[in-house]
């Protein structure tokens, strides 16, 4: 995450000034996520004793709230980053931001009660509620990205097209990880530990894909558009 932050920061001069905001946002997203992982490791250490991890909301316990604080701060930025690189007219950008940012906040806020609940019914209920804004975001972005394909320079359209698929592929890992604890009915202690570990791995993989890989794709689009708009490709 931090390497990605440095890369997108030092690559600012390789794109036109109008696309630099998208790269700065990408750097911020990966830096905030990197800091979050630094703190999550601290929390994991504090809550681990004799190969067991205490999970809960009390002090000294490993708490999933870290991820949710990270997500509520970075997901809106991630969406603004996509809008910034599309280079839409101001009115269209504002309209997208006012639709997507509240939806992303709703998605994360609705997911948290299900995340910390040990009851499968509550997990499913909040999982479904959280999926509604999630689908709305994907729908709006998919439609807008498709619309913008016509306005993109030759060569860039294919990358923007792939961005749509990347968006679904990377964001799709989150609900799968969320559902992992529901997969086993009445799990034993060792199964619970395995489910917990698998969910953490799932979320971590999803974070790397959705923040680093996505950010690097944004950089690629910004660079291609800059070259198409007359910037010398001498880097």
């Amino acid at each position: 995450m931090l390497a990605c932050t440095v890369y997108t920061l030092v690559s600012q001069s390789r794109v036109l000034p109008k696309y630099r905001a998208a790269l700065v946002m990408s750097s911020m997203v990966t830096f905030i996520a990197g800091y979050h992982y630094f703190r999550i490791f601290n929390s994991f250490n504090e809550s681990s004793m004799k190969n067991a991890v205490t999970v809960g909301t009390s002090q000294g316990s490993f708490n999933e709230a870290y991820r949710y604080v990270d997500w509520i701060l970075t997901v809106p930025l991630l969406l603004v980053e996509v809008i910034a690189v599309l280079g839409l007219v101001k009115a269209a950008s504002t309209s997208l931001i006012t639709r997507l940012v509240p939806a992303s906040a709703a998605m994360i806020i609705l997911g948290y009660p299900g995340e910390i609940s040990s009851d499968n019914g509550t997990k499913i209920l909040f999982g479904v509620l959280s999926t509604l804004p999630f689908l709305y975001i994907l729908y709006v972005l998919f439609v807008e990205l498709t619309k913008s394909l016509e306005r993109q320079p030759e060569g860039v359209a294919a990358t923007v097209g792939r961005l749509r698929l990347l968006l679904i592929a990377t964001w799709g890992v989150y609900p799968i990880s969320y559902l992992i604890p529901i997969l086993v009915k009445s799990p034993s202690e060792s199964q619970m530990a395995m489910l917990f570990t698998n969910r953490q791995i799932g979320y971590t993989v999803a974070d790397v894909l959705a923040k680093c890989v996505f950010g690097l794709t944004i950089y690629k689009i910004a660079k291609m558009k800059s070259v198409a708009e007359g910037m010398k490709d001498d880097h």
Partner: protein, 78 residues
């Protein structure tokens, strides 16, 4: 101005993640709030016209940039 806004948002974000880590500790004000408050103040200032003029001075930018870097460093060690 946009970069200062980004810096302020970064401080608020780091402060909130740090606050989650400090929950239950006694001196939370000295730890997390000392990162969040400057972030919130700076963020608000970037939207106020008279404050914007002040923030656009080269020296002000230098001082604020240094402050942001110091607070980011502090968020890792506290």
């Amino acid at each position: 101005m946009t970069n200062l806004r980004f810096g302020a948002y970064l401080l608020v974000a780091l402060g909130f993640i740090n606050m989650r880590y400090q929950t239950g500790h006694h001196d939370i004000v000295m730890h997390s709030f000392s990162i969040i408050f400057p972030g919130v103040l700076l963020l608000l200032a970037t939207f106020i016209k008279p404050a914007q003029k002040f923030l656009e001075h080269k020296n002000t930018k230098l001082v604020i940039g240094t402050m942001i870097l110091l607070l980011i460093g502090y968020s890792f060690i506290n």
